[in-house]
C-alpha cells in the first residue's frame, strides 16, 4: 500500500486543536473505509521549531488522502508519496 505524507504549516495550532483534528481524521478514515476505500492515518509528528505537522497515511491512491483531509477539514501545504525505509530494510 502506498504511503503518503501531508505536510502542514499550522503556527497557531493548540494541543486541543491538534487532538480535535486527529479525532476528525480518524472518524473520516473509518467513514471512507465503509465506502470501500482502505485509507489509514498511521501517525503524525509535530515539529515545534517550524510549526509543521507531518501526517502519514496509507492509501491506495493520492486522491484518497486528498479526500480524507478535505472531509476532516484539514489543510496542508504539500502531499507527497513517501519511500519507506527502516533499519530492517537497509
Amino acid at each position: 500500500m502506498p504511503l503518503y505524507v501531508a505536510i502542514r504549516h499550522l503556527p497557531d495550532l493548540t494541543q486541543d486543536a491538534l487532538k480535535g483534528a486527529g479525532a476528525r481524521i480518524k472518524s473520516c478514515a473509518v467513514g471512507m473505509q465503509t465506502e470501500g476505500c482502505d485509507v489509514r492515518w498511521l501517525q503524525s509528528f509535530f515539529l515545534p521549531e517550524t510549526s509543521q505537522t507531518h501526517c502519514y497515511f496509507e492509501a491506495p491512491t493520492r486522491e484518497a488522502v486528498v479526500d480524507l483531509n478535505e472531509r476532516a477539514g484539514m489543510p496542508y501545504e504539500r502531499l507527497v508519496e513517501v519511500a519507506r525505509m527502516s533499519p530492517d530494510t537497509v
Binding site: 493548540t14 487532538k19 480535535g20 483534528a21 476528525r24 472518524s27 473520516c28 479526500d67 472531509r71 476532516a72
Partner: protein, 244 residues
Amino acid sequence: MSLPFDLTLAAWLHDPDRVLVGTTQAIERARARGAAWVEPDDLLAGMLLSIARFGMVDLGERMIDLSELEPCFDLPDVDVRVRPRYTPAAAAAFERAARVARADGEVRIAPIHLLVALGDHSIPTFARIAVQHGIDPTGWRRLLSSIAPPRRPHVPSRPAPPPPLVGLEELVPQEEAARALGVSLDVLRGYVRAGKLPAFRVPGDHLTVRIRREDLAALLALLHALDHPIPARRHPQAGAPVES
C-alpha cells in the same frame, strides 16, 4: 451477580473508542440526508446513538427516548456516494471537546466530552431535548457530570512481587476469612486461586494456608466500595435452585 464495573452507559460515555461509533453514526446521518456536510447536530445525534440502548439514553436522572426526537433519528437507506465533510462548526466542536477532556484530566476525547461540547441551544437536537426535558446547557453539564467514570478492576501491570515476610499473628485461618467475607470455604479458595486474595502457607506446616488480615481488610473495603453485595452465607439444600 453484579459485576464490579459498569459495562454499559458509564463505560460507553467514558470510552474514547466509542467516539468512532458516534462519528460513524453522524456521518451516516449526514449521508442519509444527502448532505455534503456533517453538522454539529449530526455529531450530537451520533454521540447519543453511540450510548443508546434500544433507542433509550439513560442519563441517570433523565431518560432520553431517541424515538421522540424523530425524524432526526429515523435513518433511511444510506447513499454511499454522498461524501460529507465536517463543517467548521463541527470541527470546532471537536476542539472544544478536546479542551473539555483536558479539563477532565483525560488524554483522549470520549463521548461524554463531545456531549458536553454540543450542549447548546443552537443545535436543533439539543434544543428538542431542552424543551422535552426542561433542561438548559448548564443543567445538561450538571447531568453529565453526575455520571461518574466506571470503576475498572485493578489489573497489575507487572507480576506481583514475592509475598513479604509476615508474623503469624497477622495471619487468619481460611475459615475465619470466609466468615468475615460471608462466603463458603470453597468460594474463598476460589478467590485465592483466582488471585483475588493472597494466601500464605505457615512455615513448617505447608498444608496450612492462611490469609493476611491486611489483605482481608483490603478485599472487604473493595467489595464495600464497589457496592458489591456480599452474599449471605448459604448452605443450599440438595435440589434447591442455585443462583448464578
